[in-house]
């Protein structure tokens, strides 16, 4: 599974005539980041991570980023559900309250 990505070439309808004939849209097209309501954020400790892929398998939003050397979490799409932290067999992911740290 690919992690979600924003389709920057998406064009909103420019007139009534350009709107679809019913309320439908091409599947799998994301037009904006979607994670604004997160209360807790998962923070991954790469030193403890054994790359077992369990978090990648179960993340409902596909927000586990495997593109780099270490795994990371894509905060543009992570909703903060905490399933990854709960399931992580090496306890490499901890949930931190949003806003407690200073970015």
């Amino acid at each position: 599974m690919q992690k979600p990505s924003i389709n920057h070439s998406f064009q909103y309808p420019g007139s009534i005539g350009e709107m679809p004939s019913g309320p439908c849209a091409d599947a799998g097209v994301l037009v904006e980041a979607n994670a604004g309501w997160r209360v807790f954020r998962p923070v991954l400790d790469a030193a403890k991570c054994v790359k077992c892929l369990k978090c990648w398998l179960i993340c409902p939003d596909g927000a586990i980023d495997r593109s780099g050397k270490d795994y990371a979490i894509d905060y543009a799409f992570c909703k903060g559900c905490g399933i990854c932290a709960y399931e992580c067999p090496t306890k490499s992911i901890r949930m931190e309250k949003e806003g407690d740290d200073v970015e």
Partner: protein
């Protein structure tokens, strides 16, 4: 399209209006029917289940546990690009209500038959329009018919209207319970080949589920975009006004029967006193008009076939030069007046004095005498006599 061994040949049959609807549906070749039985609709879906069981229709017949599920199943099938049919009545239609809005908002051209029956309480299985009128704003076209032949023909027309890409809106074909649904008459059943020529297979728009071009359908739409979808629904209904007339005319050219499109006028050319109504009451009222005309009274009647979209312009034109009008409602919006009364009076805007007659509730007979009395009251009103604006026809202990 599968060719079935028992393709219908043209015939004349002595059948009920419910059977006529079933033949009309069969001739339209729906691919999915999902239905739940309710009096007085039951014999429609029974007959269709027989057609399917006897392999006279190439169709998936889905037995469901409720009317809500029936319409939900039709919605799913329609999203897959199938032509679909269902039927209901009264309490069943009310139970279907949520899905009626879902289907019209999703712009799926489902056709359903409604056997008009009152709604409880008091419990009663007989006919009036209070069930479908309660669904007025569900976003469906509503066509009311007068005879078994019109019922069969209107089902065929309904698919042609609904599936027009300018419309793509579901259609409810309404038949008065028992008085029409269970009354037998000679009906011309057209041949399958003739109907195939009139009604090509359903061609969906891009608003469908398709593995080759995956779509999210029935999507959430934010406040920033919802108004535009509602505008489109309204525009489609407005476009349907012309298309209902065009389809009726094309049907007439091919089959030799037409019904006036949005409404039918009877002896209205020079009419001074006009009653407007929907459904079977028009059949009786024609006789009364003839009798009044023989006595020198310039009476006319308007049978409104399409309640949604509403034929405002046609009614405004008809009201010109008329001295008095009566609107016959088989429903009542408690605390105001009959639904048709509201629409007609809103359209004519006082061009002629009007009385709203509430009649035929819950299967109460509307007799020729009742209808003649309505005309007399409209004439009295036009001559300046005081008349109540809303009158319950035949109310016990009142002078009628």
């Amino acid at each position: 399209m599968t060719t079935l061994s028992k393709d219908l040949a043209a015939s004349r049959q002595f059948i009920s209006a419910n059977d006529a609807v079933s033949y009309g549906v069969r001739l339209c070749r729906p691919e999915v029917i999902a239905a739940y039985p309710i009096t007085p609709q039951t014999t429609v879906v029974e007959k269709l289940s027989e057609f399917v069981a006897n392999q006279e229709m190439d169709c998936q017949y889905v037995n469901v546990e409720s009317e809500h599920s029936a319409m939900a199943a039709c919605l799913g099938a329609a999203l897959m690009g199938c032509r679909t049919f269902t039927a209901s009545s009264s309490q069943g239609l009310l139970y279907m209500c949520e899905m009626l809005h879902y289907v019209s908002g999703s712009r799926l051209p489902i056709v359903m038959m409604n056997a008009n029956r009152t709604v409880a309480a008091p419990w009663n299985i007989y006919g009036d329009h209070r069930d479908s009128i309660a669904m007025r704003d569900a976003g469906w076209l509503q066509l009311y018919v007068e005879s078994a032949q019109e019922a069969l023909d209107t089902v065929i027309q309904a698919y042609k209207v609904a599936e027009n890409h300018q419309v793509m809106t579901p259609v409810m074909v309404c038949l008065d319970g028992f008085v029409l649904t269970h009354t037998y008459e000679v009906v011309k059943v057209p041949s399958q080949a003739e109907v195939d020529r009139f009604l090509p297979p359903y061609a969906p728009t891009e608003n469908r589920l398709d593995l080759a071009a995956p779509k999210s359908c029935c999507i959430s739409v934010s406040p920033e975009w919802q108004t535009e979808y509602r505008y489109k629904q309204h525009a489609a209904m407005q476009a349907a006004k012309k298309i209902i007339g065009d389809v009726d005319a094309a049907f007439g050219a091919q089959f030799g029967r037409r019904y006036g499109g949005l409404l039918e006028e009877y002896r209205c050319e020079d009419a001074e006193y006009v009653l407007l109504m929907m459904g079977t009451i028009a059949g009786t009222a024609r006789l009364v008009v003839d009798k009044l005309r023989e006595g020198g009274v310039k009476a006319g009647l308007v049978k409104i076939r399409s309640f949604r979209p509403f034929p405002r312009e046609e009614i405004v034109r008809l009201a010109q030069g008329v001295k008095g009008i009566g609107i016959v409602d088989r429903d009542i919006s408690f605390g105001y007046e009959g639904a048709l009364g509201t629409e007609v009076k809103g359209a004519v805007q006082g061009a002629a004095p009007a009385i709203n007659f509430i009649a035929g509730l819950s299967g109460r007979d509307v007799t020729k005498d009742n209808i003649e009395a309505m005309y007399r009251k409209v004439i009295d009103l036009a001559r300046g006599q005081a008349e109540e604006e809303i009158q319950f026809v035949g109310l016990r202990w009142e002078q009628w």
